[in-house]
């Protein structure tokens, strides 16, 4: 399987002294319902990288994310998050699942939504009586305020979530995921349903967060174009296999054609947008199609 990873990340390359990789997948395979979804995926993600996960519907993007989160078991290979197995590393991963959007009538403030990211899973009465509890409560409140400031949502964090625009909601959800100090942020199609200016501004925000907070960001997306100028690398999934590398190296006709096993063309429009043509949208069943010779 072709790998266009940076030279120092290729398996077998001399390791030497370098910080622990945020994410490390080695020959990871996943089977669901007897069908192979991911086959021998190799991936190394350094801390602070901003990576888009691309590919047609049904290619296994969400499955890959779930495997990293430990929600789906591996049939073969390994996944390591900061050197640890996924289940152990859960507190280190901030996850934004796909949401249906908040109903207009949901009466809760953005601020409370972010706070729920911190303590929404804690059972027990939320009373801070002892001094240490009070200090922790104060620190938490500060953290929440800091994250809301980081995403630029101060002006509308006190309004009901249901009244906010898609872009504003998305920023609050990012703050919600960041509030527990994750080392990795995984976002499952956060740009869906946002208009182009909002897509680019959220992408820019994620770029800033990746650099300033040293958080690795993995973003599942359908369209790479709003993200082009902010990404470090892309992961392209098709037919259960993955290809990773810089955008210009991965999204080319020969690379993608080899990945899909079909004739793919990559067109570049006048304003620099990339269009992938010929990619089948439906899930590809092995054995029912013969690759072109």
């Amino acid at each position: 399987m072709a790998s266009l990873a940076a030279p120092e990340d290729r398996p077998g390359a001399p390791s030497g002294h370098r910080p622990l990789n945020a994410l490390s997948l080695q020959d990871a395979s996943v089977r669901l319902g007897g069908r192979p979804i991911l086959t021998a995926v190799n991936l190394e993600v350094s801390q602070g990288e901003f990576i888009a996960v691309l590919g047609p519907n049904g290619a296994g993007k969400s499955t890959l994310m779930r495997a990293i989160l430990g929600l789906v078991p591996l049939a073969a290979g390994s996944v390591r998050v900061l050197g640890r197995p996924p289940v152990q590393a859960r507190p280190l991963i901030g996850y934004l699942p796909q949401r249906h959007g908040f109903d207009r009538a949901v009466r809760i403030r953005g601020l409370d939504l972010v706070r729920l990211g911190l303590d929404g899973t804690r059972w027990g009465v939320p009373l801070a009586i002892t001094p240490s509890a009070r200090t922790r409560r104060r620190a938490e409140r500060q953290r929440i305020a800091d994250m809301i400031a980081l995403v630029g949502a101060e002006s509308y964090a006190h309004r009901p979530v249901g009244e906010l625009s898609g872009g504003e909601q998305q920023r609050l959800l990012i703050a919600q995921a960041l509030v527990r100090r994750p080392r990795i942020l995984i976002l499952d199609e956060p740009l869906d349903g946002l208009d182009l200016p909002n897509q680019t501004s959220v992408a820019a925000l994620l770029r800033r967060i990746a650099s300033s907070e040293e958080v690795s960001v993995l973003l599942v997306a359908h369209d790479v174009n709003p993200l082009l100028e902010y990404l470090d690398r892309v992961i392209y999934l098709a037919s259960g296999r993955a290809l990773t590398g810089p955008v210009q190296a991965v999204i080319t006709a020969p690379t993608l054609s080899e990945l899909y096993g079909a004739q793919i063309e990559v067109l570049k429009t006048g304003d620099g947008r990339l269009v992938v043509v010929g990619a089948p949208e439906a899930p590809h069943h092995h054995g029912t199609r013969h690759p072109e010779p």
Binding site: L96, P97, Q98, R99, F102, G124, V125, P126
Partner: protein, 282 residues
């Protein structure tokens, strides 16, 4: 029945109010009901399950008539009917085409409950008070024993809600994240519906089915008009509930009209007042 009259001296009126044991019991029961309904109702309004709440409240009708028919104690009938309905409604909450299926199921469950209740009633006319009392209730004739058992249920419910407060809040407003974080959302959904059913079963023995619903909806909805903060909202909800119940009981004591009318009217009036005040301010 003595015909008390409202005098300009408030202290004298209050002493009159407290002079009868039945009135004291009614006030105690009313206080407990107000607090329980305000807290449970706050979540109910947040989760927009008022329809389910109303349906559960209505289940006390077949519960009481069915128990009378079967020769079982009325209390058992109330609990069985409410719990049964909660389970029947649970079957559709997070299903496909959820909102559509959910409301159709709730409506059907309610209709079946009422149809069954009517059937039981016509088979056995021997129910205390008749359909109106079952539905609209009466605060008179509350015994100390009833007050104590009500207190028990209320404490259990409020403590349960306090312990589960944050996971339930998360599951109510952001179920997708809750699932991703390992919160058992469907169990919480079922648990809440059962809690609602139990709370309704306990209170409607005293307040009647329809009155419980007014106390479950109005104080929390009014509170949520004023503030979006969870804890402040719940506290306000309790305050409103208490005010409504106390004023309602006092008004019913001094006038010939039924308690239910006063409580529902005050509840509605408070909501309208706050809604208008908000509209004027914006």
């Amino acid at each position: 029945m003595i015909n008390p009259s409202f005098s300009p001296d408030l202290l004298y009126d209050l002493r009159q109010l407290f002079s009868f044991p039945f009135m004291v019991n009614a006030l105690e029961a009313g206080t407990i009901v107000a607090v329980l309904a305000a807290v449970v109702g706050w979540y109910m309004v947040l989760r927009r399950q008022a329809f389910a709440g109303h349906t559960l409240a209505v289940m006390s009708f077949p519960g009481a008539t069915g128990a009378a028919l079967a020769g079982l104690p009325g209390v058992l009938g109330y609990y069985l009917a409410c719990v049964g309905a909660a389970l029947a409604m649970r079957g559709s909450r997070r299903g496909t085409g959820s909102r559509v299926t959910e409301t159709a199921t709730i409506g059907t469950v309610q209709a079946v409950g009422l149809a069954a209740g009517f059937l039981f009633l016509s088979l056995n006319q021997n129910v205390l008070g008749g359909p109106e009392t079952l539905l609209f209730g009466t605060f008179l004739g509350v015994t100390q024993g009833q007050v104590l058992s009500l207190l028990g249920v209320a404490l259990a419910a409020v403590i349960g809600l306090a312990v589960a407060s944050r996971p339930l809040l998360l599951a109510s407003v952001d179920p997708e994240l809750a699932e991703a974080r390992g919160v058992a959302v469907s169990w919480l959904d079922l648990g809440f519906l059962l809690l609602l059913g139990l709370a309704v079963a306990a209170t409607s023995q005293i307040t009647g089915a329809l009155l419980v619903f007014a106390l479950l909806v109005a104080p929390p909805a009014t509170a949520q008009l004023i503030t979006l903060r969870p804890w402040l909202g719940m506290a306000l909800s309790v305050v409103f509930g208490l005010v409504i119940v106390w004023l309602g009981l006092a008004a019913a004591y001094f006038s010939p009209y039924p308690v239910g009318f006063f409580i529902t009217t005050f509840a509605f009036a408070l909501y309208v007042l706050v809604a208008v005040w908000r509209w004027v301010r914006s």
